[in-house]
């Protein structure tokens, strides 16, 4: 996957050269190991800044709305699904975006890799599925497949679902007998243990809102936690307020979340933010047969009504 960067750069350079797009949004090399930074390239001269590898864990669909003129984006499978959602929800028009699709073999779990070392990682290199990671005291060679982010290991949409051009050959999609083993694990807990699981999840939250701001479907001009007249949620460290933020945000994402993992990637405290949304993804699949971002013609289940909608809860 890291080998398709030449193709990405060539495609991007061509688009900019012909003036077909105002900018290409992709990733730039980070200033520290295992990091990349979203970037907007405006001219062919800057093309070498673009990179693409297994540390490109953010969702670029977060950066494409409200741009003037046409924008090209380098989109993985999940990114492309979020672009579909953007189009369905009128955040961007199809002809305003040019999608360079990149079939993806997964992003690495940076926390998991870092925990293998007792000091800071100083170098990270990848060649195919082989990761060579070094700190000052040791070097380790790892198999990328053992260090995928959880959402990537459970991904069934690695190929872009909507694109104008592909930067690499399509990859084989995973077929999972059980796509929600993480949800099952939590559902198997008794209520007290389940409550404790979620209390533990939020105990380190510092209300930075990196999860919300990195999420492409969180685009409300004024988020419910920021409303002042009236104020719905406290902004401090009161446990109920912190929990309310996470649970309510998850519900706002229900039926729209593509499990891209940008929220977990962004969180500075290493909180597995996806634990809030995964059950809702499972429910939407089971109750409505719905996965977000696969159909340009349909609205997500929570804003569409069908007489076939389950209604056994109406007593």
């Amino acid at each position: 996957m890291d080998t398709c960067i030449k193709k990405i750069r060539a495609l991007a350079a061509d688009l900019l050269d012909k003036g077909e797009v105002e900018r290409v949004i992709g990733f730039a090399k980070g200033t520290i190991p295992m990091a990349t930074s979203p970037i907007a390239i405006g001219s062919k001269q800057e093309i070498e800044k673009l990179v693409f590898n297994s540390t490109c864990g953010l969702n670029l669909a977060n950066f494409v709305t409200k741009q003037k003129g046409k924008t090209a984006i380098i989109a993985k499978g999940c990114d492309s699904r979020n672009i579909v959602t953007h189009i369905v929800e009128n955040q961007i028009k199809r002809d305003e975006i040019y999608i360079i699709g990149v079939p993806c073999t997964g992003m690495v779990d940076k926390f998991k890799i870092a925990s293998l070392f007792k000091d800071e990682i100083t170098q990270f290199e990848e060649a195919g599925d082989t990761l060579t990671v070094s700190s000052l005291s040791q070097t380790q060679t790892l198999n990328k497949q053992d260090y995928l982010r959880e959402n990537c290991s459970l991904c069934t949409h690695r190929n872009p679902v909507l694109y104008d051009v592909l930067a690499a050959d399509l990859v084989e999609e995973q077929v999972l007998e059980n796509p929600f083993p993480d949800v099952d694990r939590i559902e198997a807990l008794d209520p007290d243990a389940r409550w404790e699981h979620f209390e533990n999840l939020t105990k380190n939250c510092i209300r930075c809102y990196a999860c919300r701001n990195a999420c492409p479907i969180c685009y409300c001009p004024t988020c419910f936690v920021d409303e002042a007249g009236p104020q719905w949620v406290g902004k401090g460290q009161n446990k109920t307020d912190v929990d309310t933020f996470h649970f309510l945000r998850a519900f706002h994402c229900a039926g729209r979340c593509t499990d891209c993992g940008a929220c977990v990637e962004a969180c500075p405290m290493g909180i597995n933010v996806r634990d809030f949304t995964r059950k809702l993804n499972k429910d939407t699949l089971e109750m409505f047969g719905w996965e977000a971002g696969l159909d340009l013609t349909k609205r997500p289940p929570l804003d569409a009504y069908s007489p076939q909608d389950p209604n056994d809860f109406i007593k």
Binding site: A228, G229, P230, Q231
Partner: protein, 281 residues
């Protein structure tokens, strides 16, 4: 040092509706504890945080004048959560005032000078404080000519109407009251926007004349060229800025314009100082 977050407890002594659309009210407060009024000694141009327990605080310019004893007055526009709550309060209710905060109009620099006061809309509060201060018999002789240009959308939107008309009758102050427009055939004063009235009526600048200007950003934007045309240099134009504030004591970091904190280094700045700051206000 005392806790600067602690307000002085006050009681609402009087509430007057200040404008015909009821969007502004003038509140008169009396300090509950003897001695607090002295501690609150202020200068014209300063502001205070009006504090309502359980609701919040708002930074409001002090409309009463240091020469008026026994109470303090504020004119408040209903804009958000706290101001709406305040507008619904009654005489006798208890709340708090924190201050006085900020710097003030440079009264020592203005001695023996001509002063031109320009105000628009409901930004006239600290200007009222200034005019009452200057007209007080103990102070009047310290200043030379006083000109005032004050305008609002319509006669019913002028603040302190009765006082304005009283001042107009005096011969130790030149009032140029104006409204954007009116149907009232008995309207005796100017009709027209503040910048035009300034151009036509304000005295030309000389090294002994200073202008104090207070108003909404758009009024200031169009009045500045008029003053410049009359010859006022940036150090002779004194402005009072607003910004979103919380602590009012220069600690929460919210109200900065460049390295100036509007609550502590301001709110009064000369145009010369403002020209050296980023335009983020």
């Amino acid at each position: 040092m005392e806790n600067p977050y602690m307000p002085y407890p006050v009681r609402i002594d009087d509430i007057q509706i200040a404008t015909e659309d009821k969007s502004l009210k003038t509140f008169k407060f009396v300090f509950l504890n003897e001695g607090d009024e002295e501690k609150f000694a202020y200068h014209a141009g300063q502001f205070a945080e009006l504090s309502i327990p359980g609701v919040g605080e708002i930074p409001i310019g002090i409309a009463s004048s240091p020469v008026e004893k026994g109470f303090v007055k504020f004119t408040v526009f209903r804009a958000g959560v706290v101001t709406s709550h305040l507008h619904n309060m009654k005489v006798g209710d208890i709340m708090g005032i924190r201050g006085p905060l900020g710097n003030w109009y440079p009264w020592d620099k203005l001695e023996n000078k001509n002063v031109v006061i320009i105000g628009g809309g409901f930004a006239f509060t600290t200007l009222r404080s200034s005019i009452v201060y200057m007209l007080d018999p103990a102070n009047r002789s310290k200043f030379k000519n006083i000109d005032v240009v004050y305008g609002s959308r319509s006669p019913g939107m002028l603040l302190y109407r009765e006082e304005l008309f009283e001042w107009e009758k005096r011969d130790d102050i030149n009032m140029h009251i104006t409204v954007d427009g009116t149907d009232d055939p008995d309207w005796k004063y100017h009709t027209g926007f503040v910048p035009q009235v300034v151009e036509q009526n304000a005295p030309k600048a000389d090294e002994d004349t200073y202008a104090i200007i207070c108003g909404p950003p758009i009024m200031i934007k169009f009045t500045q060229p008029s003053l410049t045309q009359l010859g006022y240099k940036p150090h002779q134009i004194i402005m009072s800025l607003e910004n979103r504030m919380k602590c009012g004591i220069g600690m929460c970091g919210r109200c900065n314009i460049g390295k100036e904190l509007v609550c502590k280094d301001g709110p009064v700045f000369t145009l010369e100082q403002i020209n050296q700051t980023p335009k983020e206000y």
